[in-house]
Symmetry: C2
């Protein structure tokens, strides 16, 4: 008896941020969140799950190295085995081998795509009838934001109301095809400073920030409604404003934590200022930034504006990989932009810019 | 007919921050605030006010240069003239000459001490019976935080409830003598980047930040009560915690503004992290930071801990002016501190450290 499946799952980047758990054990969030799934061509986790009666234990191999099976993974395996209707695989051990097609040096959390691929693969073997939304509640227990990587396009993670968390799951708001000229530029900030570890940062915010609960109760619900409207009507201006406001609101609640948590650096802040100056000079939104728990910016752009934004970011912050790196003056002249952006210059502030776009959900290879 | 008086007034640094006006015209704040008055030996504004029947117009000379009399100053002059009971000086023109004994390069707002000295001097001439609290409501109309420079020691600016602002005034919580072993280190961050102007930043926060009103209504009132308790009982741990939390809360509301407002830089953040690491390693609070609308840190320390904090800050951030600049390792060993602070090193991150202490209120020279 042996079954094996290989799947891939995408990375997602939230535009309404998840920060803080109302239930640590079940990984239930204090607020709903919403993300954009990125193309698996540039970034995905690829996972092979197998069950075989010859296996004598559960095995997890991440990027070629055997890892310990932690408590969260044990929980997921227990759920899968309890839920399967096929008695013959119920008691088999599993082997999970997973790799990422993007370097961890990119500074992007791989836990979301990794856990989504794992749960998707296990689901296809143990309970093929499970919907992706059902699988998302299981993925959530492994890594909160992983639940949003079970779908492509635009994905909401509803916080849910039930104590057992059974309604805290991901749903697709719109598929990739709905708004497929939306691109993403991942601006990887040069790691010139040792990062300060934020141990249990999320729960420290829950415990000490007066802003976080106010944000969860009074700010996020309306933003969720508004950004879903913006996505449905493909209103980039509105989408961009809400995305930027919510990124800043999330980082404000980190700063409001005691002691405070910082993820944005001077380079991050310069990127934020450039985006606002550029949008202002153009009289419309050409880019929206969002920052996860790190200094790297993800810029959402409409495809028509991608070259403009990319060339300006490259010119100001380096590293000019794979694109013509023009002087700032030339670029501003070419696009007829009346803005003084030179104050924001920070050469080699970025080590890399990953160009990607919206993508689809998990795939069976 | 001639009268002349020369006065000095101190700088104050808020520990509960003022940010946002509920009435722009009357300079009424959205929340109460509380500050520590700093010694005039290191920093003060010195102002000579005279009235003379030979004067043909009102004149304002700041640091040797004649300045225009703006609307706010006109209002103050009108109030003074309307309030005086001496008919013979009512219609005289005034000459105001003011200088600061600290360079503007220190990056410290001089408007508070400058306006306080001006109003104090005018008050002594036009309405000598006015109390400092009465004068503070007049100073407030010129520059909000100036009202707190009418007293020494620890000063609350009560936001007041009346529409006309007559109860929005400063009061002394405790005099300088109450807690006179409290020192302040003003860490002036090197201006290696062009500052981004935040035009009307305060009111943009009022208009766009979901946090600010919540902070005013639900966070600041309790902090005011708590820090007054801490001051009265000279509880430095409590004073330090509230001071740091409120500084971060203020900067969080700036970050929560759309577009966001940034004052803290990487060096500011490193100082914050060092203070928390140091307090943590010592098992008690040896320093509390607070940041106004700029990157410079003001550190409050008890005198017994001043040398420790000063030597560590100097070692990590330069510039080692006027103090022995030891290696970090030596300092940590000397004080028996078990903390790895090397990650925060930013040589020449500071251009200057001003050592000062708590001070008294306006003086007649």
């Amino acid at each position: 008896m042996r079954r094996e499946i290989t799947v891939t799952a995408p990375v997602n980047i939230a535009v309404i941020k998840y920060w803080g758990k109302r239930d640590v054990k079940l990984n239930l969030p204090t607020n709903s969140s919403l993300s954009v799934t990125l193309s698996q061509d540039e970034m995905c986790s690829k996972t092979t799950v197998s069950v075989d009666k010859s296996y004598t234990k559960d095995t997890l191999v991440l990027n070629g190295e055997e890892n310990e099976i932690n408590g969260r993974l044990v929980n997921v395996l227990n759920v899968m085995r309890e839920s399967t209707t096929e008695s013959e695989i119920k008691d088999l051990h599993v082997r999970i081998e997973s790799t990422n097609n993007f370097p961890t040096a990119a500074g992007l959390a791989s836990s979301a795509s990794g856990f989504a691929a794992l749960v998707y693969g296990l689901g296809k073997i143990f309970v093929p009838s499970y919907t992706n939304s059902q699988l998302s509640t299981i993925a959530r227990q492994g890594s909160g934001s992983a639940c949003r990587s079970l779908f492509g396009g635009f994905v909401a993670w509803n916080k849910g109301e039930k104590l057992d968390g059974s309604d805290s799951s991901a749903v697709e708001i719109a598929p990739q095809s709905h708004w497929d000229d939306l691109d993403a530029l991942i601006c990887v900030v040069s790691a010139n400073k040792k990062a300060v570890a934020s141990t249990a940062g999320m729960q420290r915010t829950v415990e000490t920030s007066p802003y976080l609960q106010h944000r969860a109760d009074n700010v996020v619900p309306k933003r969720m409604d508004d950004i879903i409207d913006a996505i449905k009507s493909k209103d980039f201006d509105k989408f961009a404003d809400i995305t930027m406001m919510d990124s800043n609101s999330f980082h404000a609640s980190c700063l409001d934590t005691h002691p405070p948590i910082f993820y944005l650096t001077d380079v991050s802040r310069a990127i934020i200022n450039v985006v606002h100056a550029l949008n202002n000079a153009m009289g419309r939104h050409v880019a929206a930034y969002t920052f996860d728990a790190g200094p790297n910016a993800v810029l959402y752009v409409q495809r028509k504006d991608k070259e403009l934004v990319l060339s300006i970011i490259n010119s100001l912050f380096g590293p000019c990989e794979g694109v013509e790196c023009n002087s700032l003056d030339n670029i501003l002249r070419r696009y007829n932009i009346d803005a003084d952006l030179s104050a924001f210059q920070s050469p080699n502030g970025l080590s890399r810019i990953i160009q990607t776009s919206i993508g689809d959900g998990p795939r069976i290879v």
